[in-house]
Symmetry: C2
Subunit: 122 residues, 2 copies
DNA sequence: GATACATATTCCTTTGCGGGAATATATATC
DNA sequence: GATATATATTCCCGCAAAGGAATATGTATC
């Protein structure tokens, strides 16, 4: 993977937030919307951008699209994602995103759950 | 230093090449021109871009402007420059730049040299 | 098959950036 | 001070990308 392409993906705030969240595990679009508090079209387009360049992978689960980091990242990508994760810890916006993600996961019920769950995408 | 600003500086090929060269030490504009083989205006403008965002520092020496990486880089910048330097080793264009830099340094005579030097900027 | 939900895509506008030609500025040399 | 050299800046153009409204697509449910 070409180094420049990686940095082109990293030079937008929304995409940085997305990748920071994905460092914790897969996520669906609706959760990105909740955590980032950005309109659906914005999230979708940045995810498409990242996908077209191989920074994320997608898998459909029912109505939901689950995004995650590549299973076999290149050396350069792995290094840069690690660097991002490390640096993001020191910036408020990224920390807040991770906090919101943590709270969300507590109320997030898996697919096999019986009832009462507001979401069951991931 | 804001993380996004760093990545905005890294998302252009010319700037990546400049920063990769600077990881070896200070350089003047004319040397960038020779190594990168790009027009002067292009080099100057990217250096101005990097300077405005604190990624490089400048010092005038006679007719020449000597650019170098910040003396006291932030934690994020240091981490990302190290990552870049590491990854750049695996990409042809950056390796070739470093090779040209090495050859150049051999013929580059310091300021105190007596005569015959084609350059004495750095 | 009609409806609701989750997500993607299209169309449009605006903006910032990269590139180059020309010009300006600063310094050294004569 | 005239000239040459090194570098910066201005002006212009073209393009890609970001953002949003509206619409399309795919899936589950009834």
């Amino acid at each position: 993977m070409e180094l420049l392409k990686i940095y082109e993906c990293l030079c937008d705030r929304t995409r940085l937030r997305v990748l920071n969240l994905l460092s914790q595990g897969p996520l669906c679009v609706c959760h990105f919307q909740e955590i980032l508090r950005e309109p659906q079209v914005k999230i979708s387009k940045h995810l498409a951008y990242l996908r077209a360049r191989g920074l994320v992978e997608v898998e459909r689960r029912g109505k939901w699209m689950i995004y995650e980091l590549p299973g076999k990242p290149s050396r350069e990508l792995k290094a840069n994602l690690a660097c991002l994760q490390d640096c993001a810890r020191e910036e408020g916006i990224f920390r807040r995103d991770l906090e919101r993600l943590g709270k969300l996961d507590l109320t997030c019920t898996p697919v096999k759950a019986t009832s009462g769950a507001t979401r069951n995408c991931c």
